[in-house]
Amino acid sequence: MSIFEALLAGLYTAVSLEVLPFVVIGALLGLVIGIIPGLGGHFAMAMLIPFVFRMSPATGIAFVLAAHASVAQGGGITAILFSTPGTGQNAATIFDGPPMTEKGEGGRAVGAAMTACFLGALFGVFVLTLLLPVLRQVVLVFGPPEFFMLAVLALTFIAVLSDKGININKGLIAGFLGILFSFVGMCNVTGVRRFTFGQLELWGGLPIVPVMLGFFAVAEMIHLWVEGKSLASKASSLNFAGLQKQIFQGVLDTLRRWRLVIRCSAIGTTIGLIPGLGSASAAFLAYAHAKQSSKNPDEFGKGAIEGVIGPESANDAVEGGALAATVAFGIPGSSSMAILLAILVILGVQPGPNLMLNNLDLVFVMIWTVVIGNFIGTIAGMFVANPLTRVTFLRSSVLVPVLLIIVFTGAYVVHGVYGEVIITFVFGLLGYAMKKLDYSRPALIIGLILGVMVEKNYYLALKLYGSTFFMQPVALIIMIITVTVFFYNIFKLVQSQRRNYTRAG
């Protein structure tokens, strides 16, 4: 079967009456799961395991993948409207989504985010399709030396995120603090339990979703309550049609910025190819890139629509990359992909290279499901957003306590561990302080996600390739890029510094 035939066969199956209803149900379910804080795509998939058992392979795969595909949309809506990222992947949306809501442009932000999600996913699976013939070679390019270099490259973005006039030092402090926090937990190499204070809860490191819920959502709640404002302060008079119009305007905004969408999607897909980095870091890097490439980086954090489009297109583009390793080798790149593999086996499909040889049409069912599921999630998300946006007009004295308990419930259900509720609270206070005092919070999160990756891969690379591991060809290329980007950023920083001085003086 040629790729083109398989592509059509996959489409035919995906829109057949046997499969399509499950894609629709799955996508709607995923949207709801995404809206609930703390529950991510892998939960949506795990929930469906008992149901897919008696389905045909195509239906079962389509069902779970559709549920997984639309989670980012649901999380994006709550991140924009309530400062509550449903999952880690939507956390980067929180810097410019809520300020837009406050300006009365919540509908526009949601429309832009939904469209960005869909386009990102489309880009991801498009790249996956192009790479299909050479998938194995591409995935194998990345080993510990390359991971190490990529993580270092990503860390240099801390400098971009901390670009805030005279606050560079504060941004760097935040970033380094994040790296330091990433060392919490059992050290893989020595077995030493670092910074755990004797708590079992911290063995596995700081749990990322509770940290983000605290760092952004709880901090935002404290801020909101102290200021005594409602989430949307200026547009309480919008009616249903007006909102819908705003949402449509957001769609156009994203389409108009298609170049940004493509660049951020490329970041997302690349991160997706690398197991272990995850969609949260993709979103943050895309945010950093959107800021770096923007003409008015100072607008970021105050409701720049690019700050919503960037991360939202990246976090769904990840899926294309993550599917690659899963399809090519049967090696899962994320916990969601691990569930997908388990489900494939349950359905009697052998993952790995045989899938590409014998069941290429199934691969395309996956690809089409991601596309269709995302599309349904996007459309449905725009309609869900309308009533939800009206909630943001409520006064903070009512909204804050209600959102607080929802956030703390979400923090608990991630792993079912009470200790994570406390982590959420502690990071809530820290996040509030950092917000008030202008320490860059995205810098801290990037450090937190990447810090320990750098250490682990440094150790492995050193042990496997000796002290000249960075001379491996791909690693060397990434290193050159890193150095270039690093000095370019420093150059830009110095330049903006000088501009600030001249403006001030």
Binding site: K170, C187, R194, V398, I405, V413, V454
Partner: protein, 165 residues
């Protein structure tokens, strides 16, 4: 004058937060020194530049504070009232309430803990009407319970008291 005291308040807050971070760093540093060399390596590489940057930042804060101090004629009164602001009080209140929410959840479990928290908060702090407080206070936790436990089959925290029954 008004603006000046606000700036001073901010400078002091900055300084305090910086000192907090420094103290945290020192605690972590002491902990790191007890680990074996390989586990120590990466955290130390991060700590040393972080220490330098923090020290620099603290120095900047300190200088700014001093500059502000010299601007202002000091009578002990403003010094004391500097932290008696409405905002700080609100931050403290909501922090205490979040702590009590966590304690309630820990003891009584999510559903009951959340209900008590919501009713008390809405009625006594937000000064909402009884009807609204009770409706939200009971409605939201029950809705969350139904969504999580009945619909998604995820157990919310049952509370430690649960263990004794």
């Amino acid at each position: 004058m008004r603006d000046d005291s606000r700036e001073k308040r901010r400078a002091i807050t900055e300084l305090l937060f910086g000192i907090f971070l420094l103290a945290l760093l020192i605690v972590l540093f002491v902990m790191v020194m007890t680990y074996q060399p390989v586990a120590r390596r990466a955290p130390l590489t991060v700590m040393i530049p972080l220490f330098v940057m923090l020290a620099a930042q603290l120095f900047i804060f300190y200088r700014r504070l001093k500059k502000l101090q010299s601007h202002q004629i000091n009578d002990g009164k403003t010094e004391i009232s500097i932290f008696k602001t409405r905002k700080l009080r609100k931050v403290l209140v909501i922090t205490l309430f979040i702590i009590s929410l966590m304690a309630l959840i820990y003891l009584l479990g999510h559903v009951i803990g959340m209900a008590i928290f919501l009713i008390v908060f809405l009625r006594l702090v937000s000064r909402e009407r009884w009807v609204l407080s009770l409706a939200l206070g009971i409605g939201v936790p029950v809705a969350l319970y139904l969504v999580f436990e009945k619909l998604l089959h995820i157990m919310v925290y049952p509370g430690i008291i649960h263990r004794y029954f």
